[in-house]
Amino acid sequence: MQLLSGDARRAVFAPLDDGALRSEAVVRRVGSAIGLGLLGDGEQLPTEADLATMLNVSTVTLREALAELRKLGLVETRRGRGGGSFVRSRDDVLAELADARLAELGTTDLRELGDVHSAIAAAAARLAASRASRTEIARLRDIVDRLASAETVTGQRRSDGRYYIELAACAQSVRLTMQEMDLHLELGQLPWPPEHAPGLLDVIVAGHRAVVDAIEDRDAARARALAESHVETRTLWAIELRLQRLGGAAGTGDDQRAVS
């Protein structure tokens, strides 16, 4: 069985916070892990008992979640020898899940998520400006190039997540890196902005390149400010999309253009 290691594994199978709809939380977690490629197509999930223990949910809850994932087509269960639950990566299903998640969150939730992400990414960018080696800066550039040329939504989403995680690693901070990993499992549950407005990919790529340029110039203040404002912009996109889905009542003309 291909299992994850390090931060990624810890984050995917970390215990879920207490909350009412726990089987839904399991579905979302597994969905975003598939979207980010942390769980690969065809990959076998741990046994029900192990998975329930890792996520800190009851086996009843876990079975409910697996039933839902099967219904969605994200998990396939085979019986008998060599049987078990296997991951099926389906972009269409993930997009539906993301839309449903967006509809359930309030703008305050999106703002909160954006606030934390902006704090973490800005701190990472500031520190990276004085701590990232040339090799690390080259790796960041390479990831942004891959983001620019990724052809699928999942490919783009993964490169984007990887950029933020590497940025935190460039800051030489295990804790910031873990925070980014956790955040991306949440952010990965939301729609990917360029899926609704393809032009936004260029904005994201340009935003990341500007941060990497500032890091290379060893300009900590600029790196920080750029990383912060980029995340803030993206938070606004999510909030605008959320409000737009209410029936197109929200937003000025500019806002409409930004997300449509």
Binding site: G37, A169, T177
Partner: protein
């Protein structure tokens, strides 16, 4: 006068006490050699197994029990193993035979990194410096400190040496030492120090520092001294600088 990241004065220079620099350098070398001794045992075990049984796609090279090295008294490494270079033309896949001590309960676990290129967590180890440098140079190498984001999730130094069957590169044997453990051990060995020092790797990154303004993981400010300055630490790609605020020490 040089300025650190916050604009404060940072003076870096070679030791007035050449003897003191030598003492610190020798202690650093000894710790590194201690870890490389473990790496050498992994290396020798791998070579013996390869000579005896060759390499097969379906089977591990290292015999069971190799990982018990991690439980030896005084062991600084928390991870060790062998990374076998892939050889697609012979149907031999890449292979990572690596164990690590669980930070929680101290048990040994195999590391199973994400080797799928399409994943957010993809660990492209053939591009990793700890694999690539020994492969290219044929010599041992020390990488770090670095956040091992796609492997163990720790802040590490990784020490590796190439495994050669004759002249053929088979892979690398290596060990991981957490930066914190390296620091704690070395500072205990050194005892009281007359002057703060900073240990720098080949990228100018601080490996260990007793100067509070030069933090582990940071890069030495470019104006803090010429890159060749300092005392090379034998057996490592590192150099040692003694630091004193207020005036520059004679080289």
């Amino acid at each position: 006068m040089n300025r650190g990241p916050e604009g404060e004065a940072v003076h870096v220079g070679e030791a007035v006490h050449v003897g003191e620099a030598a003492r610190v350098g020798a202690a650093v070398s000894a710790v590194v050699e201690q870890v490389f001794a473990t790496v050498a045992r992994v290396h020798d075990t791998a070579l013996r197994a390869l000579e005896r049984e060759g390499r097969r796609a379906s089977r591990a090279v290292l015999p069971p029990g190799t990982q018990d090295l991690l439980h030896e008294p005084g062991q600084l490494a928390v991870g060790l193993g062998l990374v076998v270079a892939p050889r697609p033309e012979e149907g031999l896949p890449l292979r990572l035979e690596w164990w690590q001590v669980d930070p929680g309960d101290g048990s040994l676990r195999t590391l199973e990194p994400d080797l799928r290129p399409t994943s957010l967590g993809y660990y492209d180890y053939t591009a990793a410096e700890w694999f690539d440098v020994p492969r290219r140079t044929g010599r041992r190498h020390v990488v770090g400190p670095y956040v091992d984001v796609h492997g163990t999730g720790r802040y590490l130094l990784t020490l590796t040496e190439p495994v050669l069957a004759g002249t053929r590169f088979v892979g690398v044997a290596g060990a991981d030492v957490p930066v914190r453990r390296f620091e704690t051990h070395l500072l205990r060995v050194l005892g009281p120090l007359p002057a703060p020092f900073v240990l720098l790797n080949d990228e100018g990154r601080v490996v260990l520092s007793t100067a509070p303004r030069l933090l582990v993981g940071s890069l030495l400010p470019p104006d803090a001294g010429p890159p060749e300055e300092g005392t090379p630490v034998a057996g490592t790609p590192w150099r040692l600088l003694l630091v004193r605020d207020g005036h520059r020490l004679a080289g």
